[in-house]
Symmetry: C2
DNA sequence: GGAATTAAGGATATAGAATATCCGCAAAAC
DNA sequence: GTTTTGCGGATATTCTATATCCTTAATTCC
């Protein structure tokens, strides 16, 4: 059970977009260069964010991406689910139906305990991600990243933001 | 991010093993028939349980598997990790190292905030699974499964337990 | 208006993981 | 000694993640 690397990419890109001045856009090309990622493939992750309405886009030179809402109104789960999908990690294949002792026509009223417990754990994972806002991440990064690196990155981004 | 179906298989098999009388064993063949699963592949899941020391095995006719500990001393996480591995679901590829603004020789003191938050969610998932004991599952199932099915399954298993 | 740049989406190729089967070995039962 | 069993290795198949390429339409700038 491993998350796609696109999840990491999307989270980092959103953190960068959160630092953009009002109304500016940043292109896939810039985001790919900044993170050292394949531009074409990163583009797929950004398209996922776009489809989830987390970011706004615009075309043409000086086009690119910006957050669709304030960074305090976007949480980790929004981003992770946009890329990874909303499906639960445990999928029930209903193997209890294969029990040879099962009476013909027997119909289970509800999902069995195994599935419910696994889904509960899944929900705990989602809850944790839901509680962390993108703005929280930016706050932590701004404290932890070395100030000179933080500032030079910021300048690098602004130079390329349309 | 989807768990292997072997996780479901292992959980169901453990629930069955928990109902075995003291000292009896149940074979892969019986477990595969009971759940309608491919015997050879289910065997791999059971081998994982064995390697994790969750079950004891014995060879020969009347051989098979039994729990290595009481069902109240085995939790869901034990079983899930035995099959799925203990690796975290979020793997950090350290893309921040590709930042072109990064000073040469800069070395990060600790994993960045993105990774820590994702790992925190992972830990919440594990915590939930850790809190549920195998005996809890058996308790729920014994209440929810129709009594006649529960009993006939029990008899079916006993007939094949060595 | 025309050239350049961009996001979007479809098609396709590659790598790796999950799923599944088969075989040979050693231990245990009879 | 024969059968049954768990175990591990080897292999095949299917599916997903990863990655690239190409076309289209919108936008900017000249
Ligand atoms: S997880 Fe529950 S519902 Fe799904 S197959 Fe197993 S017993 Fe049935
Ligand atoms: S998750 Fe954190 S440590 Fe990992 S690459 Fe991203 S910034 Fe770096």
């Amino acid at each position: 059970m491993i998350l796609k690397s696109q999840v990491e990419w999307a989270l980092h890109c959103c953190a960068i977009l959160a630092g953009l001045p009002e109304g500016r856009y940043l292109s896939t090309k810039a985001l790919a260069e900044l993170h050292g990622l394949p531009k074409e493939y990163l583009s797929k992750a950004l398209q996922s964010l776009s489809q989830a309405a987390l970011v706004d886009t615009t075309l043409g030179p000086s086009g690119g991406y910006r957050l669709a809402r304030s960074s305090s109104e976007i949480n980790f789960l929004d981003i992770v689910e946009a890329v990874e999908g909303k499906a639960r990690s445990f999928t029930c294949t209903n193997i209890r139906e294969n029990n040879p002792c099962r009476p013909a026509g027997y119909c289970d009223s509800k999902p069995c305990a195994v599935a419910r417990i696994m889904w509960e754990a899944d929900e705990a994972w989602r809850d944790t991600l839901r509680r962390v806002r993108l703005s929280d991440l930016v706050g932590i990064l701004s404290e932890e990243v070395r100030p000179d690196l933080w500032q030079s990155t910021f300048e690098w981004v602004l130079k390329r933001a349309g």
